[in-house]
Amino acid sequence: MTNNKTPLIEMKNISKRFGGVHAVENVSINLYPGEVVGILGHNGAGKSTLMKMLSGAIEIDEGEIIVNGKKASIKNPRESRALGIETIYQTLALADTLDASANLFLGREITNAFGVLNEAQMELETRKVMKTLNPNFTNITDPVNSMSGGQRQVVAIGRAIYFNAKTLVMDEPTAALGPAETTMVKDLTLRLKTEGIGIFLISHDMGDVFELCDRVMVMKNGKDVGKFDIEEVTRDDILSLIIAGQLPEGWKPRNKK
């Protein structure tokens, strides 16, 4: 990869414990502009926990995060967003009784000089964003709990891309989506990549991983069990890492065979 540039994000020797559970143990990973890095592993491997430390949703126990070459202390979601990091959470993190527009701008509302919400402006912007994601999305003013799983996911994605992210964290973004919407998310990912945005992608779908990722890291029981360029590995290699925590016997990089 383009190792001469400064990485967008460097996560160094990160650890996190929940009581007796070592959710993340001494993991290091970096991300360059215009790169998609896949984070793979079983349920409970620690993928979401690692990403939540970058998003400021949980605090780091040990290790450091460097953003654009500068050491960052991310203590809450606001500080993460201020560094240009946007997150699509696995749980979507939507306020269910509010509409798409309220969710898109939650915590960053457009207000007038008196601190009054500018609903019209927010609705206008929301309609624009949603149109680029899904032209059929018109029920902007319905509460999101009346929407399908796919539409809810689109709202969460819209929220992450609206604010000109430099780094995007996508935690299983296509889990609730049908085929058409999955294609939309993949196209979107590739478009953002060409715009120079760095993306961490957590996914269980090997098809997505091989189509989108430049590099992958596999985690097992909170540990990093291998980082590879996508050209070096096959599906079976990755599955072996996920399940057994190691490569098949006699492994050679697939692109150098």
Partner: protein
Amino acid sequence: MTDTNLNTHKQESALTRIIRASEVDTRMLGMIVVLVVIWVGLNIATGGIFLSARNLYNLAVQTSVVGIMATGMVLVIVARHIDLSVGSVMGFIGMVIAWLQVDIFPLNAGWNWPLSIACGATLGILIGIFQGWFTAYRGIPAFVVTLGGMLAFRGGAFLVTDGRTVAPMNKTYQLLGGGIDGSIGTTWSMILGIIAILVIALGMYRSHASRVKHGFPTKPIWLQLVMFAVIAAVIFGFVYIMNSYNKPRSDIGRGIPVPVLILIAVVIVMTLLSRITKFGRYVYAIGANPEAAELSGIDVKKVTTFIFVIMGILCAIAAVITTARLNAGTNSMGDSSELLVIAAAIIGGTSLAGGSGSIPGAILGAVIMQSIENAMILLGAGSGERMVVMGLVLIVAVWFDTAYQNSKK
């Protein structure tokens, strides 16, 4: 996209289409219908006394205290908390105000009543900070904090004067209670009514114009005109009734009572706060999904504390009206009114699951509760019977609501 909403809606009747287009909450509409039915029924049961100008005037005054506190309770419950202490806090603040006004400050001094109100409001803020801090920053469930507050402040109300009733209050202050001179007269009532109708017309026009300008979907013009006509008729009818209840032994109409004016002002401020400010948006977001609110960068603890501060201020306002109306401070003021306040909010559609509820709904809830209580008094029912009926009304109301919510899914 596979599931556009083109095909998902079943065939709708013309009426449902109109209601949907009006964007009037169907639940709210249902409540208005229920209220009208109850009023007609109670009027027949009381042989026409219930809907007399005199009784409606009294009903309006009686509703204002519970209504004012219910507007704050909506925010508390929307944010997934509860406040069991409001009755006691109201009683405590009322005692402090009465004690300051009668025992401490010179009774006839012009600054007496404004200063005692200011002290009451400050006390309300401090109590709000106290309960809000324990709930938000110390993670103690609001149920526990305010259950403690309910006991402690009731005790406080007793301790202010060792249980002694304090009276009479300052003459000017008494006007705030809506007694014989506690209303604004027919002319001012009419002027206020006309201003209100004009403001609503302007508001509806501007909101429509703004949607047209942005190219957003709009409601049909005829429907907006009908809605406006209904609202204008209600305002006009209200002013007319308040104006046609005369002062004793005279033909001078009373006009809108001061406590109701205060209630209207509180409803306007609280509705705006909840609908058009960031703070209001955050209250609903916290109730809908506290974790999402936190992840969106909302300072959940600060917002939560602020909700309790608002509740404290509203308790102080309610205390002012209660002491002014009684023309005294007694340590039993507001006894068990927390239950009426919570019931008003819940009957008004505030969901205990958090994230939804409306302030106008809570006022309707308060009016419904108070109407039933008022009519039972007219019919000569004792307090025991009233409590039984009110309790059952609450249960049945929530039962209907649950059934309605389930039928929508």
